[in-house]
Symmetry: C3
Subunit: 273 residues, 3 copies
């Protein structure tokens, strides 16, 4: 039995784009279970979508089908693809949106912009070319509705991956989300600011484990030691968040507002000197 069909887009909820995709899916498979993962990815911000997807997909059943659409190149030459992995099937544009997921299943962690072969990875991919599984009339500007939604519905009905098109030889990688390492310090970056103003960084728990008694420098402030939860002490906190990454928070407040943090800002981790 197929898992839920999980939607992540930059469509927002002020239009009917997401609702229409659901209409298309349920028309083809009235028994599909639909889940909204997130529709507030910043418009056309592929890297943000890649991060949100990569930090969430493992909490779903491995049978889940993820439809991810952040697609500034819709209608152009970019490929439409589907990927089968040991933990979920992924459907969407081949523009880096699935690059971080790909790194979990054998692709190298390159910088943005690379393209890497899928051979030797745990990923089976196809290019979506069989129009039989699209809507009868395909627009050039809304492949979410016309291609990705019906393909996901057909996948959930048990149509095998190979039916949708020829094998995909390689995948466009997105950003690697890895901090820089320098002697005595790790130079990370803010990769997401959540609703509470918590600033999540590309510094992973494994990176931090190598630093004893870390001092975190962000926006000119120094935070000594890691906390375990948001209410542990007053003021600014550094902690390993629910995404298993270094996170800057403010007890009962917004760290991002208080420090003026933005995506890409540096967060440096040092050992005490």
């Amino acid at each position: 039995v197929a898992g839920p069909i999980v939607l992540l887009t930059d469509f927002g909820l002020a239009d009917t784009y997401v609702g229409t995709m659901k209409g298309v899916i349920l028309r083809l498979n009235p028994n599909a279970t639909l889940v909204d993962l997130c529709h507030d990815v910043a418009p056309q911000d592929v890297a943000a979508g890649a991060y949100l997807l990569a930090s969430s997909y493992r909490y779903f059943a491995p049978t889940a089908i993820f439809v991810a659409v952040v697609d500034p190149g819709v209608g152009s030459e970019r490929r439409a693809i589907a990927l089968e992995t040991p933990h979920g099937t992924f459907v969407g544009p081949d523009n880096g949106l699935f690059g971080l997921v790909g790194q979990d299943f054998g692709l190298p962690a390159l910088g943005a912009g690379g393209v890497m072969p899928l051979t030797g990875t745990d990923i089976l991919g196809v290019t979506l070319e069989n129009a039989r599984y699209f809507l009868p009339r395909t627009s050039a500007t809304f492949h979410g509705r016309d291609i990705f939604a019906p393909v996901a519905a057909h996948l959930s009905l048990g149509i095998p991956l190979s039916a949708f098109g020829p094998p995909l030889p390689d995948l466009v990688l997105g950003p690697a989300l890895r901090p820089e390492r320098r002697p005595g310090e790790i130079v990370g970056h803010v990769i997401h600011v959540d609703r509470f103003g918590n600033a999540i960084t590309d510094v992973g728990a494994a990176d931090l484990a190598q630093v004893s008694a870390p001092i975190v420098e962000v926006a000119g402030q120094h935070i000594v030691g890691l906390s375990h939860h948001y209410a542990e002490r007053a003021g600014l906190l550094a902690l390993i968040g629910s995404d298993n990454r270094l996170e800057i928070a403010l007890n009962r407040g917004s760290a991002a507002s208080a420090l003026g943090l933005r995506l890409g800002d540096r967060v440096i981790v040092r050992e005490p000197s």
Copy 2:
């Protein structure tokens, strides 16, 4: 088997109004499939709701039940209605919200404000008067929860339309969403601005088909020729969008912000002179 129950409202998602409607529906029919079409219709903007509904409903199964609530006159004398059409059942206030859908099934395309008989159309309507299918206690200010949600649930359980009240003789029409035609030009209007800042107009693909090599004038700019997708060329674009209407877009930007476009603004299509 009934299709999904599809909700469109101006309730937003910051209150519990939409969630409560779903509670009412699922209490009556625990097996109902619910879909959010859109809840961010501008508050009390019936014309905006009518457009969003009309541009989306055909992507759902014909068995879908649409509950649409944009209802500034709730509790007053406006009728509560249900409409059966060849493509979906519609439940909500009779204030023009279903006027564009009605035009798809035989009603004339008048300006706003008209009321037209349903005889000779493909629409079967009733006035919702049978309180047996309402919540036991009906408020004067939240018919979405107290009348429309339980009626939709009962419809999804197979109760025939005629059980809900007397036949509806006529329907309130909304705006026609048709451009003006003048010698040598089509004068259209912006009818929706989406999250990406794309400005959708009332000029349909059929209107455009009559103009060879169109020049589009909007906010003092002239756009020569139609594009096929957003990434086709840099800067401003005019294209036939996913709603099959003329749309003004900006490659990797917001046309509405760049041009200061608002609802009702003119978009003129001309042949080259």
Copy 3:
């Protein structure tokens, strides 16, 4: 058969927090029906969450399982709990979020901050301590995903309440949401402002029933008499809203904007002198 699993949080929809909770639930119970009650509770505003939950839960089936997460103390010593009541099961932090619901089932209406024994009430509670029903790896900052979501899923699968932990002796109460009574007047307060700018107060219909021909004073304005619905007369209105409480509204406008109303503002009801 279990009713729907109903989610109320302050997580917003711009992150993947809510979607991830749904992934966890559906992985454990693929047949669960999920409903979003509201995710726009003001961040960490427990009183706001308590009001929204209390005003909505009765519209769901009594078999519904409510997961409510407004949890500034996540990871600290506050208890994680589940409550079985005659109308729904409730899962979340013990910080006052369930205080108003508790008052419906036998707890006294105290001011904020109190803790009251559950003996003699219609509520059966447990402290969530059995980690067998949590995610294998529990973070300190996202109990919604790691504890509350999987507990709700297991409850929906029929695991009895007592399996989740030891009996809960008492419950943290939230604010009582009761107006002050003075000779000749009721002094109420704004407890919620909805999307339309309607200001809902803690003055209940039963309070109002004791005042003949009420005059409502708010922000220096006097409103004479109660209306039945929003379109009844032009300008400011006072009416008993869909929540069965005194509500201040503006016909086709926002009362909150027009009067500059905020949470906690006074709304005084008097008999004519």
